[in-house]
Symmetry: C2
Subunit: 142 residues, 2 copies
């Protein structure tokens, strides 16, 4: 997924030992079985829609194609009891979109799960990080 | 990623209310910046290698191509201070592979992070699940 999200501000203080950044950085996907899944891409798209007020502009800001943004919104809108993106079609520029309360709640809960998971991973994240070599590997393609 | 992992046995008790399975189901990817990332695919491959004693058999069991399995192992082996998959080449069937202690530690820590994240997500996972409709959406392709 493109659209990287800003990482947990609340843990962004002094997580550095000997130049190694020990801050946990997890990507979380919430699996809802046959209902689909919620990951950073859909959540970031909803956040951008909330900010831009338009699906097309939100997709554009994320470097996503028009088609991809609308397909994702279609998927998001069929997952929950109500559509998470309210579209008001018509007008210049492809219409206005906004997030109803349920969508704001879903985005907030995703963020809460992300933050709680990062905190919960602390005891194991540090030892993983210190097992890394001093320099990152040089990628040989693939 | 293919290779689905068995979900947190320790939370697999009575997570059902009105037929809705409220057990958290998260997919976790641990991002290690320029060192790469550790997700369910690489972890499952290491678990299968540990069980099968061979990269080729492990990949086969996971429905992964020979090439994909070896590329993933190559990536895994350049992430940490030491290779996580020890290859002993030669012999019939492509040689033997095993996980050294560091690899066992990494796999265990990934599992611990997965379980801790699932527990930490509980307060928000339930409300998300009850916001789902009674029936999953019918997929129209895409």
């Amino acid at each position: 997924m493109q659209g990287r999200r800003l990482q947990h501000k609340q843990t962004a203080d002094a997580w550095s030992t000997d130049g190694v950044d020990l801050r946990p950085n997890l990507t979380i996907r919430i699996n809802l079985g046959e209902y689909g899944s919620l990951g950073p891409g859909k959540i970031a798209l909803m956040e951008h829609i909330s900010k831009c007020g338009s699906i097309t502009s939100a997709g554009k800001e994320m470097g996503m194609s028009y088609r991809r943004a609308w397909l994702l919104v279609d998927e998001i809108n069929h997952m929950f009891r109500e559509p998470l993106v309210e579209k008001q079609l018509g007008g210049a520029g492809g219409g206005v979109a906004r997030l109803p309360n349920l969508a704001r709640d879903v985005v907030a809960r995703y963020g809460a799960i992300e933050a709680a998971a990062a905190m919960a991973s602390l005891p194991d994240f540090g030892p993983l990080k210190v097992s890394l070599p001093a320099k990152p590997p040089t990628r040989s393609g693939a």
